[in-house]
Symmetry: C2
DNA sequence: ACAAAAGTGTTACGGGTACACCCATGC
DNA sequence: GCATGGGTGTACCCGTAACACTTTTGT
């Protein structure tokens, strides 16, 4: 929620008055799924953690608004972005009726350079199992999104958006384990992924790891597009 | 889209100014999936077919608004209702910026008694493969919803919301065929459904049909609730 | 040597698929 | 008798699950 105003609300000139966009930005770090939260400076949400919200300008679509927020907060331009849905309980935002449209995005952790917004004084990644108390209905929104991600990750090859260009099969497996909140069998996982013909062997190995070096892979973007179009089955 | 005004817009007193709720109402008739459309009396959508839209009152949630619209149009109170998402391109509604939140619902055809709204002069069911030209971005919305239904029907037992209390297995199969837009193998379908323990044999037969009378079934609502909670797999 | 992760092989089970086939009813 | 849909049986295939096992690298 864009909740950066005090009670005498000062809306910017060119934004819609009763609609906000909230963003859930996810990334993988050390095998853990993280979500980006901000602490607001002032207003009803002052000094509390929440999702990254903003108002919608009259000259941008909802999706463009969401994209703008993600880019301005993380610097990332190449990302997966999708809508979770609209949240519109009567009293979800205290004192005023605001509908929020929620988007979630998946970014590569290494590419993200966190930037303070005008209305926030902290931005940080949180392990999804260790999020603090959140403002308004943001916890509910986060939970809905985590559920949705489970659903989504089985039907579209979106997990890849969280990985660097070259990655190991274990890294990929960890994403599925984190999102599905389960442990997967390594041999079976490898075979399943390989059979999709989605990965290209880089013919390179990891460097300087304290164990046998793993092969690095990257995606075959063509196959990726086809899978998105014709379906994808990733049930475990 | 609630598009029932002329250019000198006359919004009711207690509604949000730039948000509407649009509804996709589905039902099964004679083995065909139908969607409910209305023809508007006046305004930008005058004399054209579109989804059933309305404004959102300040004292009702988005879902309550959607529910109100469905009930006032069809008289149905017992229904499946879910959000499809928000649509918010800049020029989706001509002349003014309006975000619409779209809900879809599944009703029993026999229970629906269509009622004219204040702003419409026709309400009718259309076969989903034979929809006329629609106003604004409503065709896009319909297509998105049909896609979403395919997705949904495999993971939650929602197909049943389209059936009368007592139904035959063929009726159920026709729903899946219509939504998934495919032909299914009868013997396999029967076994798959039966094994879910979702159906209770009514120990009754169809009456007066020109072939061997089929057994009538109804749902086991308890199992239904459990499947909703713990997952449901209906891949074909 | 040991830990840690990469990677391969094998087997059993169950579900999905594709049919063939018989049954009941009305015209 | 024939068309229409109801309903059962079966055999094959393939994906999944479970788990044992070998390989490579760093400390």
């Amino acid at each position: 929620m864009a909740a950066e105003m005090d009670k005498e609300e000062q809306l910017p000139e060119n934004v819609m008055p009763s609609i906000s966009v909230d963003n859930l930005i996810f990334a993988m770090q050390n095998g853990r799924l993280k979500v980006l939260l901000v602490k607001y400076k002032e207003g009803l949400a002052a000094d509390k953690w929440g999702l990254i919200g903003h108002w919608v300008q009259y000259d941008e679509s909802l999706e463009e608004a969401a994209h703008r927020v993600v880019t301005s907060t993380t610097g990332v331009v190449n990302l997966y972005l999708d809508q979770l849905g609209a949240f519109g309980k009567v009293n979800r935002y205290p004192g005023r009726r605001i509908i929020t449209v929620v988007y979630y995005s998946l970014v590569r952790f290494e590419e993200a350079e966190l930037q303070q917004g005008d209305n926030t004084h902290e931005v940080a990644w949180f392990d999804i199992r260790e999020v603090p108390e959140l403002i308004f209905d943001h916890k509910e929104i986060l939970n809905a999104c985590l559920e949705h991600l489970k659903y989504k990750v089985r039907h579209e090859p979106i997990g890849f958006s969280l990985l660097p260009e070259k990655f190991t099969l274990l890294q990929l497996q960890e994403i599925y384990e984190a999102i599905l909140d389960t442990k997967l069998d390594k041999p079976n996982f490898r075979r399943k992924i390989q059979k999709m013909n989605l990965l290209i062997n880089c013919k390179e190995k990891q460097q300087a790891v304290a164990h046998r070096a793993a092969t690095l892979y990257r995606f075959d973007i063509n196959v990726y597009e086809k899978l998105k179009e014709f379906g994808f089955n990733f049930e475990f």
